[in-house]
């Protein structure tokens, strides 16, 4: 009976993975497609057809400038995904080397310094600091990326240090040592490949948090600037028109919801697929 529930559980998990990857792919494809084609030009204003309800002509209706909401959601996908992706890249690119060096020289001054630095970043209210950074240096996509990226560094530093520490006591690392490899080389050649799975799973989760953060920042006007559409700003603009054109508030919101949901489901599914240790325990 035990094995029966386990296999149904695994089936459920792989269904999650499937739904997650499917949802994410839809938005990723929409973002890619928007680079070469959108049904309408999003910078083209057409006041004569403003605030149209959804129809075959305009699938998601039009906004107060007569821009096609469907096209804007497509380009918005490109904005959200690229900002969040680069921010996670920054977090991984800086966090993983920091975490690996902390683990390689564990207990030393460097380790202490890196970990306390991480604690410090964690102590700051992240959203507030992100808002401070973008407001201080001017609202732009680059500053939004930096603001979100900074808070990803300690996440990856902590994760890779924690995962690397137990590996350092293993026999295969010892034999690499005996073979004369230095700490840095061991970290790259032996530790890193063994923690890649964890990094991929965490990366997916951080990606989804990045999408939410980007939406929040651009909602308060501190993300990508007009005329480039972003989901957060579309929602902010819809708020003033809420009683006459509620459809404007629906589509960008669903886009955020489904992208984040897709990434979370994919992350959960990947964790189960890539890390059999977790699969075997309950949870």
């Amino acid at each position: 009976m035990m094995s029966e529930t386990r296999s149904s559980r695994t089936a459920l998990k792989s269904r999650n993975l499937f739904i997650g990857v499917a949802l994410t792919s839809i938005f990723a494809l929409a973002a890619l497609l928007s680079l070469i084609w959108t049904p309408y030009d999003v910078t083209q204003l057409d006041i004569s057809s403003k605030l149209k309800s959804p129809s075959w002509e305009h699938l998601f209706g039009t906004d107060h400038f007569g821009r096609d909401t469907f096209s804007m959601v497509m380009v918005g996908a490109q904005t959200s995904i690229s900002v969040a992706f680069i921010a996670v890249g920054i977090g991984m690119g800086l966090g993983v080397p920091l975490g690996l060096s902390a683990a390689a020289y564990r207990g030393g001054l460097l380790d202490e310094f890196i970990m306390r630095g991480n604690d410090l970043i964690f102590a700051f209210p992240s959203l507030l600091i992100a808002i401070m950074i973008t407001a201080v240096f001017g609202p732009s996509a680059v500053n939004a990326i930096i603001a979100i990226g900074i808070f990803n560094i300690p996440v990856f530093a902590r994760l890779s240090r924690g995962a690397a520490l137990p590996l350092w006591t293993r026999d295969f690392i010892l034999s690499a040592r005996v073979a004369g490899k230095g700490s840095a080389r061991i970290s790259v050649e032996h530790i890193l490949p063994n923690i890649t799975n964890l990094l991929v799973v965490q990366g997916t989760i951080q990606f989804s948090l990045g999408i939410l953060a980007e939406a929040g920042l651009s909602y308060v006007g501190l993300g990508v600037q007009p005329p480039i559409p972003s989901w957060g700003r579309m929602l902010a603009e819809s708020q003033t028109l809420i009683s006459i054109a509620p459809h404007l508030a629906l589509f960008p919101g669903f886009a955020i919801l489904l992208t984040v949901l897709g990434l979370n489901l994919a992350g959960d599914g990947l964790r189960d697929l890539l890390d059999p240790r977790i699969r075997r325990t309950r949870r």
Binding site: I131, A135, S208, G216, V220, I256, L257, L261, N264, L265
Partner: protein, 315 residues
């Protein structure tokens, strides 16, 4: 316990000191001179210089840092350039919105998360559990400001049960305050409750598979008794950590929701101060929020060490 306390207190002070340096440095490198910003582009250089003198902007970095910190230690948060009144007064005013909102949202979070988490764990693998896991997955993925906008459409504009924005002040009576704060609190609580319910569920499942639970069952206690007497109490540790983190998040992280509902809270204060280059307000309020977060984490750590002696020894 005492050595542990001293060690944690030491690291608390170091964190706060470094945080103050970082905040100060961030504010100092802000482009744009607050004095010329306040006086506008047509101001005479003499006037700008006089205002710089008045604001203490002509002194060195070190002098400014020292006077800021010594002020903070005495409870003096400085004087706002734009409001022309002590920052501590403005903050006290804003806390009347932010603290009740955070507490309201936290109460909702706990009230939703506890029963839901316990139910899902007790009926693990059942339809109830599946529903809870699905619903919480959605709750985590929903951007809370979007959910807030949708609630405004339904409950404020269409049904008229709650106000769509603004804060009437405590003088308007408790009912008016509840009308103003309910939708923001629900919007804040939804993702937090989803997270907490999941933590509660997995923590309970971990505890329920422990040996002492099996012993308790073996000596004849019912599932229900085991759940209430043994499992819940032991499952609370990770749950309490998350609650601690959530409270500090709600205090500082309500900034976007405050913007949706035009609530005069702390987050909105910082947001407006940044755009008006009222840097002393930004500096002091961010420092205050960091202090709150560090303090909450410190208290949670202490509570652990109190409950679980193993943690004391390990550090």
């Amino acid at each position: 316990m005492l050595p542990y306390l001293i060690k944690r207190l030491g690291s608390l002070i170091v964190s706060l000191f470094v945080a103050s340096l970082v905040i100060f440095a961030c504010i100092e490198i802000v482009p744009g001179d607050p004095a010329s910003f306040m006086l506008g582009v047509n101001a005479q250089p003499d006037t700008v210089n006089a205002l710089r003198e008045e604001l203490g902007l002509n002194t060195s970095h070190t002098q400014r840092y020292v006077s800021w910190i010594s002020g903070l230690l005495k409870g003096d948060l400085g004087t706002s350039y734009t409001y022309r009144s002590p920052v501590s007064d403005i903050v006290a005013d804003r806390l009347q919105v932010s603290v009740p909102l955070a507490l309201y949202a936290l109460t909702l979070t706990i009230l939703i998360a506890f029963p839901v988490g316990v139910l899902a764990a007790a009926w693990r693998g059942s339809a109830v559990d599946l529903f809870v896991m699905g619903a919480t997955q959605l709750g985590i993925a929903v951007p809370n400001f979007w959910f807030a906008i949708l609630m405004v459409i339904v409950f404020a504009i269409n049904l008229g049960w709650f106000s769509a924005g603004g804060f009437p002040g405590w003088d308007a009576g408790i009912l008016a305050v509840i009308k103003a704060l309910t939708l923001p609190a629900v919007a804040l609580a939804l993702p937090q409750a989803s997270i907490l319910a999941r933590v509660m569920r997995s923590s309970l499942l971990d505890t329920l598979s422990e040996d002492y639970i099996r012993s308790a069952r073996a000596k004849g206690l019912s599932r229900r008794q085991v759940m209430w007497r043994h499992a819940l109490r032991n499952a609370m540790i990770p749950v309490l950590t998350i609650i601690g983190l959530q409270f500090s998040f709600l205090l500082a992280g309500a900034i976007i929701i405050e913007n949706v509902f035009f609530l005069p809270g702390l987050g909105r204060l910082v947001f407006q101060a940044i755009t008006q280059r009222d840097l002393i307000v930004v500096e002091s309020v961010v420092m205050l929020l960091v202090f709150a977060v560090v303090l909450v984490n410190f208290l949670v750590d202490l509570a652990y060490a109190w409950v679980d002696p193993r943690l004391r020894e390990r550090s």
